[in-house]
Amino acid sequence: MSFLQPIALWGLLLALTPLIIHLLNLLRHRSQPWAATRFLLQARKSSSRISKIKRWLTLLMRMIALACLCFVIARPMIGGNSFFSLSSNSPEMLVLILDRSASMDTGANSNLKSKRERALEIFEQFVEPWPESKIALIESVYEEPFFLSEIQALTDSNFEDFTGQTDTSSSLARTLLKTLEWMKKTQVGPAEILLASDMQRSNWGGNKSSNQFSRIDKILEQKKDLWTLKIIPLTSKSSYNISLRVNKIARTKESIKPSLTLKQSKPTNPLNSVDIQKSLNGESENLNLKISSDYTKWHTTFNLKKQPEEGWGSIKLNSSFNKSDDHYYFTYRKNSIPQVGVLSLDPVIENVLRSAAQNSDGEIAEPLILENLDNQNTTLRRMVIQQGAIAKAVSESLDKFVKQGGTLVLFPPENKNLNNYPFLSWQDLEERNEDQAFTIQSWSKEDGVLKNFADGASIGLDYLSVLKRMVPNQGEALAYYGDGKAFLSKFTHGNGLVYAFSTLPLDSWSTLKDGYILVPSIQRIMLESSSVMDSSNDLICGSEETKNIFEYSCIDLPEQKKPTLHAGVYKINGKLTAINRPLEELDKEIFTLSDLNSKLPNSPTLEELNESKRSTFKRSEIWTSFLYLCLAFLLGESLLGIPRQSNRKQMKNV
């Protein structure tokens, strides 16, 4: 026998209370002088045996009744379909964990029902034989459990916010863990947990979720006799689909040029063309695009002439296969040379870099104030130039800045260990005297930030003399020293760009300070970053940021959508914001059942739901038996307390 609330077994000590009270009463007797002791002795002698048995029986019954009450509270369990369970072998709770990620709205079968709708149907059939069980739903967006009074609520239109289609991603390991922890906290007894998911690998979090998996494993192991976790099979053959993905959006002063990829899945009978709707500030244009059987790359242009300085646009596929992966929203605002922030602890370097980064109006770049790095003004800076030692918190902020689409230009620190970006490391410092200075041998003269000027003149890198250098380890080299090492590297990080110079604009390091290389290269980097679409306002649907938006209005559609659930263009805090689905929802890699089982080594092996094989719980609760026992003993105790009829008559006579 085991107990769901073993702590209540301490209450068994209370069962001794009647005995203790009895003994205390005996100890606390009062003295009474008495004349008729003769009759007392006779009475005690003749009634002692029955009375003693009666008294001890009464005490025993009280103690057993209390003990039974403690057992009721402790919720005892015994194995299998026990006679003592006195109840139907129904689970106490039926729990549906619903993956509402965008990919769940891909057609699951040849019919038009999505995987999400199919999952709800299966769950509805699943709960039918257990009308007494409580039904709980936890979906992947809000991750809050709530009870359903009736199963029909699942398909009710009023319930759309919790069961309907979304453009979100999901973190199933986290949702599953939250569900199990909630069930553990609320001390749920026997339960059937169904996980409805298309098992997209990106939804399971990879290595980042290892801690969550170990906690899930631990709980499932503890509750292995009580809870069964099963997966609703939704990864069956997928039907035809066509999806749209925006790779890059270039922005010029008068146009926006998105670069897109269209992908046809299951192209046994591929389409040759697809209808596309382009919208700019509410004005739509329909196109028919010829597509290939697999991937199709497509570039289009949104002309901003005669358009307001700030606005929004969208691209939609007119297909009815999956509404979650056929659209893209963007916003734009006034295009300008980006603000540049300079961060260096050396005032000479800082001055040189700020001068090199002056804008078209002749204003030199601002020094970057560390305290402001995290606030919103800083996110508007499109470019940051950084040199020297850097704190970990600052490097993390700059990492986030680059990932969001910013451009970071780095100069080497005095010591290679002084700054440690997660995306860049430096080689050891190398020094030479003036006679043997490092020189640049080759660079890209046709393209990039070191290309020749418009009149064909070279940028003059062959005149650069480098006495000290610290070469970056990452990125594609744009210019090489004579020994083949990179003078300037470039690489993408997230949505942004990182440039890394290998020397400093200091006399002791190089002649970079002279400016004939530094100024044009920095200015060209600034120009390049300005052509990147400013998407700092844009958000990912279902992200934590969208969950905290409470005041908004939907711009792209007249009906009200929610930024937490649906992609679209919203006005949030007076600013136009494009909210798009997470790109990882297009990944097709499956997290198989065996992958999941390998992550949960100590738990019972997870299986897919099989309608013909319903769970029979290995253990069932028998608290009802103890409740009846408790009542029986209390009744017995009361019966023992009733005086015998003959005694009652005698008392009446007296």
């Binding site: 007797h29 009474q32 007392l40 008294r55």
Partner: protein, 301 residues
């Protein structure tokens, strides 16, 4: 001393005296008295109460011959009348420690009042009254006298009496039976917490001596109801040890035993024409004596 004596007079229950003293308390048996009184005598004598006609036997006093009957029938008859005499009332009061039980008035105090009041009543109707204090030691006996000053003497003995020691009731009753040569009224006031058989023997012994036996069994309310709830240590007043028990568990059995004991004494009294009165000390003395006198009138009428 006068003050002390005055306080003893409080043992005389005024209410009882005012209610009962009008009518004599008679004995249902004939008594052997020394002077004339209200009670029947086994002897014939001069009285207004006619008894019988009896044929004259030569040698008898011719003065008692009924000449009117001789004139009518020409035969000699003697006309006889009932002799009426006084009685000797022996009041026996149990002074064992068990009599000290009871609240607000203990049984001994109640017994003293009852004894004193009875003594006054009997002396008032011309009977001789004596007192026996039944104690383990230092028993006191006041011989029967019909002098009204006897009340004073009895009160002087009753006043300082204290309940102590083990009971000597049975032996004392046998002694009273043996010591009283002439038939009389024996009033025993006790709780009778004794073995049943010795009590029966003592009553039978008294009755065999032709005494009119009246028993007053005094019981306290607690002894009758036994209304204790909590576990209690009952300490015997006569030094027989103590018992710790739960009264609720033995209450029924105790009441049953107590009732059986009283019933057994009563039944034996009925068998041997003794009178048994069970009295709760909650009752007033006048109620007790009123009930007693009513009963006496019933059986003597």
């Amino acid at each position: 001393m006068p003050r002390r004596r005055n306080s003893y007079f409080s043992y005389l229950d005024q209410e009882s005296l005012s209610r009962i003293s009008g009518e004599p308390l008679l004995s249902k048996f004939s008594m052997e008295g020394s002077v004339s009184g209200h009670h029947r005598s086994p002897h014939k004598g001069a009285s207004v109460e006619f008894s019988e006609y009896r044929e004259y036997t030569p040698g008898e006093d011719p003065k008692r011959m009924d000449w009117k009957v001789f004139g009518r029938s020409d035969r000699y008859y003697l006309k006889e009348f009932e002799a009426e005499t006084n009685l000797r009332c022996h009041l026996a009061i149990d002074c064992s420690a068990s009599m000290s039980f009871g609240e607000p008035v203990n049984k001994l105090e109640y017994a003293k009042k009852l004894t004193a009041t009875l003594a006054y009543i009997y002396l008032g109707q011309g009977d001789a009254v004596g007192l026996h204090t039944i104690q383990n030691k230092n028993q006191k006996v006041i011989p029967t006298k019909r002098n009204p000053a006897q009340v004073q003497e009895i009160l002087e003995v009753l006043g300082p009496l204290k309940a102590k020691g083990k009971t000597n009731l049975i032996q004392s009753l046998h002694e009273i039976a043996e010591s009283s040569k002439m038939r009389g009224l024996i009033v025993v006031i006790s709780d009778f917490f004794e073995e049943m058989d010795p009590i029966k023997h003592a009553i039978t012994h008294l009755r065999d001596r032709k005494h009119d036996v009246v028993l007053f069994q005094l019981l306290d309310k607690q002894e009758i109801e036994f209304s204790f709830e909590r576990p209690t240590r009952f300490i015997d007043l006569e030094g027989e040890g103590s018992i710790i028990t739960e009264p609720t568990l033995i209450r029924d059995e105790y009441l049953k035993r107590m009732e059986e004991h009283s019933m057994a004494i009563n039944e034996h009294c009925l068998e041997c024409e003794a009178s048994f009165n069970r009295v709760s000390t909650v009752q007033s003395i006048s109620e007790t004596l009123n009930s007693f006198s009513s009963h006496r009138r019933e059986i003597t009428s």
